[in-house]
Point group: C3
Chain length 466, copies 3
């Protein structure tokens, strides 16, 4: 086949090291996928609706793919982003194929290739000439019963798949899936309260009011708000959730006394809070939810440090999650101080730290996870979920914190078909990293086998209490 998909992909070039990497990968290649954080839609699985066309499946909703095409002067509506229909799905697909070379060397290119080959049986490198044929081939596959979402879950060998959900989501889809005795994978919700804690969200007052009304146990104001969050966390827990997910601006944590917090909350509701007050309230609510987790045992996952929707015109035309979120430097060491001082050694608290600021790996995250029993090291995600970046991550964290505090891999994806590709890439990268340690006589190959199995299987179960 002409498409680049070699059995030794991502393994080191040195033949001795490669041989070790092959053996290590073999040990985990077929282990079930545990996906404790991601953005697949539970309703899609509950309804088991067929996937729509190839473009809607692989291009339009995947901002990893559309952003790089956009960066090369292709308008987002030519990719049917944000519900636009300026071009046909076929035309959008052809645009991708015609620009396939842009993805050389990227994580997205690697995943797409993996999907095309293993899921759809494509063997030619996409280009403008074969775009229509590939489109047709994928469309044929999509139409088969084996390609329905639930069937694919089993084909992909996904044992656990966490979705990310609004706190007021009734979780009906999760209930449907849990009640189906023929469907064995666990699809679990994740409590994501971000929009209810950010005053700068234009509809914060409405959201908070609705939250209080629905779950505030007849309390009002800040008390009702706190009660409602605790109630909904419990509801999620009862419906299988193992974690709450926090995309805060910074990792700031802050313990305000009740009256001060209530005062800020009222300013948020009245839209009179300053930026500093908004950040203080967000930091306070992160702290509060760490306390709540001592009761409901939801693992807290944190991924701060991104300016969201930086290009207003794109946001207005195409909506959020369309490729213009840009990371910035973060400081975990100082910001997490209040929270870790309060609950960092509590046996029931668990905090998984994610970063897209690589500088924090060796400077802050490994030192924190290397002391606090509650702190786990989140996998490299988003811009860092790629072979070289994942290798840097291991090299930067292991020497301080070892392997035991790793929270395992998370795919964090809304691109359902990319899940196996992403997990396999992570396994290959870890195999390559461990093979180097073996070749440098830093660990034995036997231990490397145990470690890679632990990273793939036990580590996410441990960190996420699966």
């Amino acid at each position: 086949m002409s498409i680049q998909f070699h059995p030794d992909r991502l393994f080191p070039a040195d033949t001795a090291v490669r041989d070790i990497a092959r053996r290590l990968h073999k040990a985990v290649e077929d282990l079930p996928i545990l996906s404790p954080h991601g953005h697949v839609d539970a309703a899609m699985l509950a309804d088991d609706t067929p996937f729509p066309d190839p473009t809607a499946l692989l291009i339009s909703p995947d901002h990893y793919v559309t952003r790089l095409l956009h960066a090369n002067r292709i308008p987002l509506d030519h990719l049917r982003v944000g519900g636009t229909t300026t071009v046909t799905p076929q035309a959008a697909w052809r645009t991708l194929c015609d620009n396939w070379h842009l993805f050389d060397g990227t994580a997205s290119g690697y995943w797409l290739t993996h999907e095309l080959v293993t899921v759809f049986g494509i063997t030619d490198t996409p280009n403008a000439a074969n775009a229509a044929d590939i489109y047709a081939a994928i469309a044929d596959v999509i139409a088969t019963p084996q390609f329905r979402p639930r069937a694919l879950m089993e084909t992909f060998n996904i044992e656990v798949l966490a979705t990310t959900d609004d706190p007021l989501d009734p979780l009906d889809a999760h209930v449907t899936l849990a009640r189906d005795p023929r469907f064995t994978p666990r699809v679990i919700p994740t409590f994501r309260p971000d929009v209810y804690t950010k005053f700068w969200n234009p509809i914060f007052p409405e959201l908070a009011a609705r939250l209080i009304a629905e779950a505030g146990d007849n309390h009002t104001g800040y008390d009702g708000y706190l009660t409602a969050i605790a109630n909904r966390r419990s509801y999620f827990r009862e419906h299988g959730a193992v974690s709450s997910d926090h995309g805060t601006h910074s990792p700031a944590t802050l313990h305000l006394d009740h009256d001060e917090a209530a005062r800020l909350f009222d300013k948020g509701i009245n839209r009179t809070a300053t930026r500093e007050e908004a950040l203080a309230f967000e930091a306070h609510m992160l702290y509060q939810q760490a306390l709540m987790s001592l009761d409901d045992n939801l693992v807290m996952t944190l991924h701060p440090g991104v300016h969201r929707n930086t290009h207003t015109a794109t946001l207005e035309t195409y909506g959020p999650d369309t490729g213009h979120d840009i990371p910035f430097a973060v400081d975990y060491a100082t910001n997490l101080g209040p929270l870790l001082n309060a609950v960092g050694t509590h046996p029931d608290f668990r905090l998984v730290l994610f970063t897209i600021d690589e500088t924090t790996y060796s400077r802050e995250i490994a030192p924190l996870a290397g002391f606090f029993p509650s702190v786990y090291i989140g996998a490299p995600w988003w811009f860092l979920d790629a072979p070289d970046a994942m290798t840097r991550f291991r090299a930067a964290t292991t020497e301080t914190a070892g392997f035991s505090k790793s929270a395992g891999f998370i795919d964090d994806t809304r691109a359902f078909c990319s899940i196996p590709a992403r997990h396999d890439a992570a396994r290959r990268t870890d195999a390559a990293y461990l093979a180097r340690l073996v070749a440098e006589h830093r660990i034995t190959e036997n231990r490397a086998h145990e470690i890679i199995v632990d990273l793939v299987d036990a580590a996410p179960r441990r960190a996420f209490t699966l």
Copy 2:
């Protein structure tokens, strides 16, 4: 020969990967040099004056060389820096040769070696004993007609060479060169307005007054200033310039309304502006010039994040650019927000981001260039223009942004004879990086060939509209 100059230099040790790297390098080894940003003096080429002595050519003006000797307790006047004549050129040359070992492992040592071998035919490692002989050999070469600047341009196979020029420079040298039918390389000016936008420059009022007087179309104050900048940009464009170059303190961008900007400008003129006001005005003028570029199509290049002339005593004795500029951490993500929101997706805007803060590669620059069509990734420069640093650069940017948004290599040098060495080192480093991707089955060797040719040839033409 005893000097270290192997045909496989900078290629990976693994023989299989090295073979691939050799083949990739072969594909670009003889391609013309495109140098869209640098500091060679256009008058030197226009006048075609013979180079002075070896010390004046290779040591005194090159702060990469003199700084490391200075760091090892050699006074700058022993190297004839800043026009000092305490020692003879021969004595300064002997100092370099006697300290040749200090440059082992450095980029400067690599370039100097390349120059000595390929330009001057030196085959012995310099030392105190052979210093006089090497000096004489170089002096002989310099005296030949083939070593006149214009002849060397052709020998070096430089197709395009950009200089960096004061906005009020009449560009006579560029005109002379452009009019000479026997001189085929393009020598193009670059608009560098920095000294006219920084209030903390002691002579800002005089410079601004002169700018307004010469190009303000009889307007005065801020209006005359804006008019003059736009006029001079156009003048540069008419004389072949393709870019404006901005060495701002930070990458801050800011849109002030006209009256507020005019108010700040007056404070700058009156020397009453605070540091914050000076930075605000600089940020505003960066923004303004991005808008101007929509008219004149000058590509904007940005390289912030350096404390200039940090050692006052050295500045006073030897002048600027004498080795004591020190980088600091920068934040592109937040600072570029206003500018990219305004013109980031405009088809006529181009912004090349340079950094000497490596942390921004994966965290900010690749994500920005991976969405905004206007943003190109500048080559590692200054302290990062070295084999390992360039390799880290590729690894940190490619997985997010691919290769297409690379602006190609720039040498940024005032050391004319080092231009081929620098470009060859970049080509070798890219060959080595790509060879690894091929060996790890991440791209095909055919694609790697296309990519390296693109990086050397098409990428700078694309980003700099050459």
Copy 3:
């Protein structure tokens, strides 16, 4: 033997590069250890008391070891940290052995293995089953005369060992050792004034009063304080000290005029200083001591950027240095400005910069050391004193600053038996790094030999004026 301890450990996998690394390591393998910064107790050597039990020797005082066990939910009192006696030494030892796997891939695991094999002759990987046997074997070794501290100094081939001492320490132990004609290693004190310069230290007023009373030459207040510090620095110098060590919060330096400094000092004494004033005074005292060093020639070593004792409950129960110090990002470029402007090119000033913020290597530390003759590049320490981290350090600093400004390796340890392991790991890592440069034809193997010998032997003598 089952324990992982291969003669080629830490060398690159590629056989050609490994062969070069072996030869380079051979050249320095048996050179004496120069340890110009560390935390061994001089009294232990002066009294030559036998080491206590294996747990007290290898576990309880070593926060590198206890922190990772604590991170894996083992309470610190189960390791007899901070003088606790909840469990027996044997039980604590068994806990370590039972959790030996947690240290795979870490620097601590590497050092412990090295110690067990080379110092105690252990050949089995520790586990719960053999814990008692290993404990007994180590206890036997400890009881022998050859294992007394002074004998070990000679066995370890330690030529110079610097301790870290309170400014008011009478240095009796150092005197005892210096006067013993049968004890040839140099054990030298280091002046560490931190607790006397930080207003936020709860006992600062008492400490300052005692300092002034003991060494203030009858001056009082700030004048007495300055006099006392200068006097004690001289006293240390007279007793063999070569450096003063400064664990400041940030690398801020500041020159306050006498009256302003005196005013702040009084506020510190009266406990009325703000946080800003406390930081300003610390920055001022760093500057003052740089000036003092022009008289007493103590090399200044600086390692800022750590939040100390972040977990209050652990501090209160177990004391400081128990594993919860967390690094944060630092800015040398801006902060060192005042100091380097004043004395950066003074021939009698020496400043060794340490960092645990890796981002500063290429961005700030190499550029600073690459110009200022006074600035030396400190070895990677604490969280970065590990093979991959040390390799990143070399790659990030060498291309700008070469090898000549390296201050050599420091072990910075309170774990006496780990000193040979740490120095050998550094030598192996440098051998591996240099072997790569040789294999890539960037330096000759002859020069690599000279460089590694220089790094191990001449570099620390040069930077620390040994």
